[in-house]
Symmetry: C2
Subunit: 477 residues, 2 copies
């Protein structure tokens, strides 16, 4: 395909070739050849290089190994002879990661001169400098992503201070590892490493694990994690060099480890971008206001998409951001306002933490009905020896409409999708109870929570199968 990046002004310049940038690119390419996509550092998305994919690959190995603890009860012998070959586990993570990255590179490999490696700096809303070369452009899409947050002073620990950027590059790990920060990434990684047999100590300033809003759920999840690792939550952690390793202390608790993983969140890559040349107010982080329905900055032809805008740093939201920015960057007049999807957050720990729809804090609790189920005695979960966790559904008291859900439940990622569809479609608890629940499935547990909510709502007609109550046979719930 012939590209014309030298014909200026460009219609747009995309800064960043991660998920948001590539989603924008897909739209831009449909309409113009007068564009450039610029990337600073390695090409390939955060997701493929250092995020979703390597972490999920690690987690699969960890969960497969962890399962050995139930082998004897299942009637399988020889589990004591199993070992996790950490270097081999990491090697597979990298090998698969390389394939996923190669897949991401395919999205830009055919772009010719429209694909530019370098550091972009805004010169205003219509011009960008890339390592000394100036591009005049009708619009700009900024999709520079995010990076792990690490306190400056901790960098002194050198290669013993890891983040997701470096973790998967290690030839081996441990045997003693501390994870600082128990947001989604900290919870996933600390559990995975503990399940691989490393001695993991996890620390979190926040009381909430992976952002769980319900305190009962949080307490259950904390208890489950404490069975697998050392976990100290509710106080900040300090690090210092001691003979034999790095000492991590938090209140009265201290532990010495070989490596520390900083999982303290991600910061948007908006420094050194020249955002100050746009002439719009920037907050104390240096962030301009971005409309989440258009991705536009003020009324400028400048769009900020993906992790870089710090709205919802999740892949599917970044892809939507990029799509919206790509659509809107090419229109001269009013940008299109997009309705965003139902919020959905999943943390790939076990049981799965997931949140769907409205946040608990944003609900009017007096107008909200809560239904719950514990998975500790759920039939199908018991057959699999995966009977842990709990699920909450929240519904509007007046209409019965599902508002949201929060859970730490076995295979919760799937039930979260079902609930997300229900919230997106404004379905009621009654609507959900009208669907078939196959036996024996984990979804029957969800049904128990829905029935719990339904009991607190106006009753449906008796002639409707959705009103069926439990039979009173535990295996059926």
């Amino acid at each position: 395909m012939s590209q014309h990046p030298s014909l200026q002004p460009l219609d747009t310049i995309i800064i960043g070739a991660g998920t948001a940038g590539l989603a924008a690119l897909r739209e831009v390419r449909k309409h113009t050849k007068r564009y450039v996509i610029v990337n600073d550092g390695p090409w390939g998305t955060t997701c493929a290089r250092v995020g979703c994919m390597p972490s999920k690959t690690l987690i699969e190995a960890a969960n497969a190994f962890h399962r050995r603890h139930v082998f004897d009860e299942l009637g399988l012998r020889g589990a004591a002879g199993l070992t996790a070959d950490i270097p081999a586990v990491l090697k597979r993570v990298r090998a698969l990661r390389d394939e996923f990255v190669a897949g991401a590179l395919d999205a830009t490999n055919d772009l010719g001169r429209a694909r530019v490696s370098g550091h972009a700096t805004l010169l205003g809303p219509s011009a960008v400098d890339v390592d000394g070369r100036r591009y005049d452009t009708r619009s700009i899409i900024i999709a520079t992503g995010s990076r792990p947050s690490v306190p400056e002073e901790w960098l002194a620990f050198g290669d013993r201070m890891l983040t997701t950027d470096t973790l998967f590059e290690q030839p081996t790990l441990g045997p003693r590892v501390a994870v600082i920060g128990m947001g989604p990434i900290g919870v996933e990684l600390s559990q995975a490493l503990a399940r691989l047999g490393l001695e993991v100590a996890a620390f979190s300033t926040s009381d909430s694990l992976a952002g769980l809003a319900d305190s009962q759920l949080n307490a259950e999840m904390a208890a489950l994690l404490k069975a697998e690792m050392v976990l100290h939550i509710g106080a900040p952690a300090q690090l210092r060099e001691v003979p034999g390793g790095i000492e991590v202390s938090s209140g009265p608790n201290r532990v010495v480890v070989d490596q520390v993983i900083a999982a303290m969140g991600r910061v948007p890559n908006i420094q050194y971008l020249g955002l100050e040349t746009l002439g719009v107010p920037l907050d104390k982080r240096g962030m301009p206001k971005v409309d989440p329905q258009t991705q536009q900055i003020g009324d400028l032809p400048v769009f900020l998409a993906g992790d870089a805008n710090a709205h919802t740093p999740l892949l599917h939201e970044a892809a939507d951001d990029g799509h919206i920015a790509g659509m809107n960057a090419l229109v001269a007049d009013t940008p299109t306002r997009f309705k965003r999807r139902t919020p959905l957050g999943i943390v790939f720990c076990d049981p799965t933490i997931a949140r769907v729809g409205q946040r608990l804090a944003d609900m009017d609790r007096a107008q909200t009905v809560t239904g719950t189920v514990s998975y500790s005695n759920q039939g199908r979960a018991r057959t699999a020896l995966r009977n842990q966790g709990r699920l909450y559904v929240y519904a509007d008291k007046a209409t019965g409409r599902l508002q949201g859900a929060e859970m730490c439940a076995p295979d919760g990622e799937h039930m979260a999708h079902l609930l997300a569809l229900a919230v997106q479609q404004k379905l009621t608890v009654h609507d959900l109870l009208g669907m078939p629940f196959y036996h024996p499935t984990l979804e029957e547990g969800l049904r128990t929570a829905l029935r719990d909510a339904a009991r607190q709502l106006p009753q449906g007609r008796d002639s409707d199968l959705a009103t069926c109550k439990a039979i009173g046979v535990s295996a059926l719930e």
Copy 2:
């Protein structure tokens, strides 16, 4: 609770205390004390005693053991030292089964004299004989369940001829086992036993595995099963005694085994019930016509629910049948007509076979759009080394409404529920594409199939996130 089974006529008599009978009981108990529930043989449901629960417990052990084949690739060592202790596996199946059965017994343990063990025979539409005692009654609910079908002449093989009624009672199995019949039960059991290390040879007269309607899906599933067992489909199997075991032959294929499992479907328990006393026409099986929306036989106060009516021998349908029968048995006038749930069938093999909504054969193919995805290169499935299978969605060409789906897909049971909700709620492909799909999940594979269908449907508005196309990064699909 005081019961009054001696006050006659009863309001109703429930014959059979399985899932359908217990569901009927739940409704009946709410409204009257003038009832009896009769059970012939062991109390406890088919599901808990010999069906869903023991088979799923067996399958969990089998799949956990089977997973060892990917351990080395995941970086886990020592898998060669793992063994399946078949007697221990079966012992756990029975132990858990006993707990589930005890749970089912709880539903009738407090009934006092209303709980009657014995064989019931109808004396007409208003009277039932139970082992010589006559009950006059205003209505009758028949919920006598079903039993495995075994050719009469095969009974000569004695305790080497197994069915689900006897399989889980065995102290051990194999080492050579033949499974005759590859419906849902045959597929589940043959794969589970093969995965536990038994030498399994499976035979099916039908070309279709577990009722799969799509030939491509069926071929993929057959290829997957053939990697785990000997499989001969499309011709009937003959059995004969030979030195060293039972020879099973089918066309040119023969194999000698230690035990044979007959998985040739289930027959409704309607013999010796006295249905001929009702004065309604019976078909050649001896089955009267039963209205699936009322469970009523003709206009008699007699209701036939659960497996015994042979409509849809699935637990959740049996429970609904029982609910409907229980509601309708107590009304003197016109019974309520219930709208049944969206059809949903799941076979717990791996990848999971599932079917949702309308049958392929019942669709107008000229008016139907098909979307598909292969899981062989799906991102999340690859991280788990579970990248096998395929999924089809079917939508109405004019409206885009989802009509149904068929799949053999990893964790397909969950996607089947999502699709069942969509069909039940009459959602369109576009509606589904409007929901969030988290990354990386198996649901992203479903999205690929939906996008494939969407391409063949009238296009939605560009300003709608549901119209987002794939980014072209393989890890994201």
